[in-house]
């Protein structure tokens, strides 16, 4: 499948994981306004990560026959970015607040970034992507996340009024709805693939 399609499904899957508490996310991020912020962050991060990864994978790793080390470099880059962001935040907040924050620092390295990082890593692995491609990849991940966090919630609310068979209550109904939406997107993805894939 195209990277664009994959990112859409990933954004969608990510949102389901957030709703199940598998991906820890601050409650504010799960609300529509937070979801839009998250989507914008996703596009921006993907746009940054894709050319860098593409260059490193093709020009350095592939030349040195070290392609399998790609996830190691991604992890190094990811943790460095998280570390830099945390340092910058604590610097901005000042020394007083910094003292208070350090109590919860143990858990703060893995809260909200995973979903964005998730999208970034995947968008980045679309080697040979053009500018349009990387924008489309980021945008589709964001769209998937938005669709899942807004439309899917509405569908779930609506389904509560319907006589859904007992085994399908809850998570299966959510997967089913997400799957049907994804199926509709597949058609779009298929027609786009030949043009920008």
């Amino acid at each position: 499948m195209s990277q664009i399609g994959l990112l859409f499904y990933l954004g969608m899957g990510g949102s389901i994981l957030v709703s199940q508490g598998i991906i820890p996310l601050r409650p504010s991020h799960a609300r529509p306004a937070g979801a839009v912020r998250h989507a914008v962050l996703m596009i921006a991060s993907c746009a940054l990560a894709t050319p860098v990864y593409s260059f490193v994978y093709q020009r350095i790793l592939s030349t040195l026959k070290l392609e399998s080390l790609a996830p190691f470099l991604v992890a190094l880059a990811y943790f460095s970015v998280v570390f830099l962001m945390k340092s910058a935040t604590s610097l901005l907040k000042g020394a007083k607040k910094n003292g208070k924050d350090s109590a919860s620092a143990g858990s703060s390295i893995y809260p909200s970034p995973p979903l964005v990082a998730y999208g970034c890593i995947l968008a980045a692995s679309a080697y040979g992507g053009s500018g349009w491609n990387l924008f489309a990849a980021g945008a589709s991940a964001a769209l998937g996340f938005l669709v899942a966090s807004t439309v899917l919630e509405d569908i779930m609310d609506r389904l509560e009024l319907e006589a859904v068979p007992a085994p399908f209550h809850g998570l299966p109904a959510r997967f089913l709805s997400a799957g049907l939406m994804a199926l509709a997107f597949s058609g779009l993805d298929m027609s786009l693939y030949a043009r920008i894939g």
């Binding site: 592939s62 040979g128 894939g197």
Partner: protein
């Protein structure tokens, strides 16, 4: 927290172990890459063909082109189509002027109807054989046209660079 506590012995040893692990992974990756190149050369060559000496696999990794194998009279390009329903690898044989000679799907043609139809269309490429009509042709045609255009451009660039 003081500096001494930050660079404690377990942390130092763990860092060294991780670096050593990364180095081992690097060596294993190089070995795997060499093996993979041999496999890709064998897959790209027509079934039963004898591998000429000095053949070198060249990675391109520009979607959907994975890489190429330059033969004395033709160039073999391996393409990977990441389709929504399937993943299909195909070998395209190009002449030095960029003209497409033939194409075939790699591996088994079993699978979804889309894959089977793609294999049928690719098999008829360059030979002008009758490939019939299918409802899937609407999405297959642009895929092949784009691939043909991309490959002829790549092949012309390669010939120009060599000259």
């Amino acid at each position: 927290m003081n500096t001494k506590a930050r660079v404690s012995t377990p942390v130092l040893w763990t860092s060294i172990a991780l670096l050593a692990f990364a180095a081992v992974s690097g060596f294993v990756s190089r070995f795997a890459a060499t093996r993979a190149e041999e496999m890709l050369v064998a897959a790209a060559l027509p079934p039963g063909a004898v591998k000429p000496d000095g053949l070198r696999w060249e990675y391109i990794r520009v979607s959907p082109v994975l890489g190429r194998l330059v033969l004395p009279k033709a160039t073999l390009y391996v393409l990977n189509y990441k389709l929504p329903s399937d993943y299909v690898s195909a070998v395209f044989t190009c002449e030095s002027d960029g003209q497409l000679q033939s194409a075939r799907v790699l591996g088994s043609t079993l699978g979804t109807p889309y894959r089977e139809r793609l294999a049928q269309v690719l098999g008829a490429l360059g030979r002008g054989g009758n490939r019939g009509i299918s409802t899937l042709d609407g999405s297959i045609a642009p895929l092949i046209q784009d691939s043909e255009a991309l490959l002829s451009e790549m092949e012309m660039q390669r010939t120009e660079a060599r000259e």
